[in-house]
Amino acid sequence: MAQLELSGVRKSFGATHVLHGIDLAVADGEFVVFVGPSGCGKSTLLRVIAGLEGVTGGSIAIDGSDVTGLPASERGLAMVFQSYALYPHMSVYKNMAFALENMGFKRDEIDQRVRRAAGMLRLTDYLERKPKALSGGQRQRVAIGRAIVRDPKIFLFDEPLSNLDAELRVATRKELAGLHAELGGTMIYVTHDQVEAMTLADRIVVLQAGRIEQIGTPLDLYNRPDNLFVAGFIGSPRMNLLPGTVARQGIVRLGEGGHEIACETGALTAGATVTLGVRPEHLALSETTGLPLAVELVERLGGESYLYGSSPGLPQITLKLDGQSGHQRGDTVFLALPSAQLHLFDETGRAIRS
């Protein structure tokens, strides 16, 4: 277990700048998830921490010691790769024992560690098998086992569930959460799947174009997004982002109909261009007043329904309802926007808070 501190970490590949000065502190035993769209630099950041890529600038410290110049082999970290990266010619046992042999552990100690990890990961019956004789989920567990046996300072996970099918992904996600609770190690996990991020993380780091957009607990990011990017990225279905203008203090005007919504406008003056954010699950139906919505599509999932529709002058709006909605395409409904659950962003995309 260890602490990690990144200070102004920059990484460029030739003229392409991938990371633009990342500052981050990860506490001992914390589970931190890097999340962001493809190409945002999250995997590069993980590889930089691992030592598989050098930095262009800045520093990396583990437990207070600068490891920026150390090769991956000397940082004491373990990584679980997206492709599992199991040695195909070695048995499960050999795969898990290989790093320990490199480190000069005695045979008894190696055997004890491998069998303990195999027991935790339900791999004891497969120790003599080669990776090709295992299922995807079993291979993933071997990759995790290979990391566990080393008792590393920090576990690094690079999109470890992305090659699994949906059902197995959910099961393995739960196993990972249980493993973190059991081992208590510091873990850094990269994913583009926000559900994985929300369910696993103590803290989430949202990245975009090589910069940190926001760091916080999953519910922090959900309840109080700092900017439009985080607001749109966290939450599924994504938050409705509606362009409007400040009519007067505490009132925002939306769409062609000039529908007025009560909302905290901070120090913004009348006429300021804003974006109003409201999550699909926070919209409610109103009888005859509110923002009109022409229903274009209804998705009924059994326990919940999604209505997709449009309102004059506004982009498509998504509404989440409990149960099985009776609405049909072509219906017009009215939406109530509860002011306590609205998010307002200024022209630059920054959240307006009181």
């Binding site: 970290l77 790769f81 990266a85 195909p88």
Partner: protein, 342 residues
């Protein structure tokens, strides 16, 4: 007022060129259309595949299968006549003559000592050549797989000799190695004594092995390079995270994963080594004496070059060589199929 100037239709040169090819082809296809339809009507659509295979099969039969049979027939006949009908049947006599040895390890104790000298030379040549070639090819492939400057240039340079005819290779090296060749010119200009590279028996064997490696290494390097590039990069990253020293990464990760390619390279090099003829023939002519006489060279001389042309004995030696090559080919096929299954 002037109207728009009429323009002549533009001729597309590319289309013109393709017309030049397409028109005769279209004519040809019309010409063969009728007979093909007629054949199909007679034999049915399913058997048409054999019609398409027939030209190649006929060619293969005429130039490979028939000579193979004739060779076996010659190997059980004697005399100097060319036509099998005029050759007396001797059964396994030619083979008995070939294998009439006091000790197979001592060519002097054999009745046909040149054959066994050829076998001995070929075995020594193949052992040295294959061992050295596989090692050099492996090292070269590993280096060419690294991120080195001008990698593409070096890859082309190492492959280039493969494209040359063996006779061109041998003549070039003969020009370098002969008594008044380039190498001796260099040695004498530095005050040294001329060395008879192609006349001294131990030097002659060294140089035919060297030239053979120089000529063929690029091909085997290419196979090994392809194998190295097929090893996923993330395995090396995992090894790095596992604190694996570089030499151990090579022994425990690279070599085992490259082994199927290595087997193919070894067996192919063995087959090629046993068949060696042209480079040695041009470079040393099998000499000095019989110091570099190879089996294939012996077969050629026995059949065509000696004053008494002994087709039967040469054919028997060919059959023996063919059996060895067949065994090696089976080994290569087995290795390839294991590689495919891996």
């Amino acid at each position: 007022m002037t109207g728009p100037t009429p323009t002549a239709p533009r001729r597309d040169d590319g289309a013109g060129a393709s017309d030049l090819i397409a028109a005769p082809l279209a004519l040809l296809s019309r010409l063969i259309d009728w007979p093909m339809r007629a054949i199909q009507r007679v034999i049915g659509e399913r058997r048409m595949a054999y019609v398409f295979l027939l030209p190649n099969l006929a060619f293969f039969g005429l130039f490979v299968f028939v000579p193979l049979i004739i060779n076996v027939v010659f190997s059980v006949t004697g005399g100097a006549a060319l036509f099998p009908s005029q050759r007396p049947y001797v059964g396994a006599g030619q083979y008995a003559y070939l294998f009439d040895c006091g000790s197979f390890l001592d060519p002097n104790s054999c009745r046909e000592d040149h054959f066994w000298r050829g076998v001995s030379n070929t075995a020594r040549f193949t052992l040295f050549q294959v061992t050295a070639m596989v090692l050099f090819s492996l090292v070269t492939a590993v280096v060419l797989n690294m991120r080195i400057r001008a990698r593409g240039f070096f890859r082309a340079v190492y492959f280039f000799p493969v494209l040359l005819s063996p006779v061109v290779v041998a003549l070039t090296w003969k020009w370098i190695l002969q008594r008044d060749g380039l190498l001796n010119a260099g040695i004498t200009s530095l005050g040294g004594e001329r060395i008879l590279f192609l006349v001294d028996p131990s030097w002659a064997m060294f140089w035919i092995v060297f030239v053979s490696i120089w000529a063929h290494m690029g091909f085997y390097t290419l196979i090994l390079l392809a194998g190295l590039q097929a090893i996923p990069a993330d395995l090396y990253e995992a090894a790095e995270m596992d604190a694996t020293p570089r030499w151990r990464t090579f022994w425990r990760i690279t070599l085992p994963l490259l082994w199927p390619n290595m087997i193919v390279v070894i067996v192919l090099a063995l087959i090629k080594g046993v068949q060696t003829f042209d480079e040695v023939f041009v470079l040393t002519g099998g000499g000095p004496g019989t110091a570099t006489l190879m089996v294939v060279h012996y077969i050629y001389e026995t059949a065509f070059s000696n004053q008494v042309q002994n087709f039967g004995l040469a054919a028997a030696a060919s059959v023996v060589l063919g059996v060895v090559l067949f065994a090696l080919t089976l080994a290569q096929l087995a290795a390839s199929s294991r590689k495919g299954a891996a």
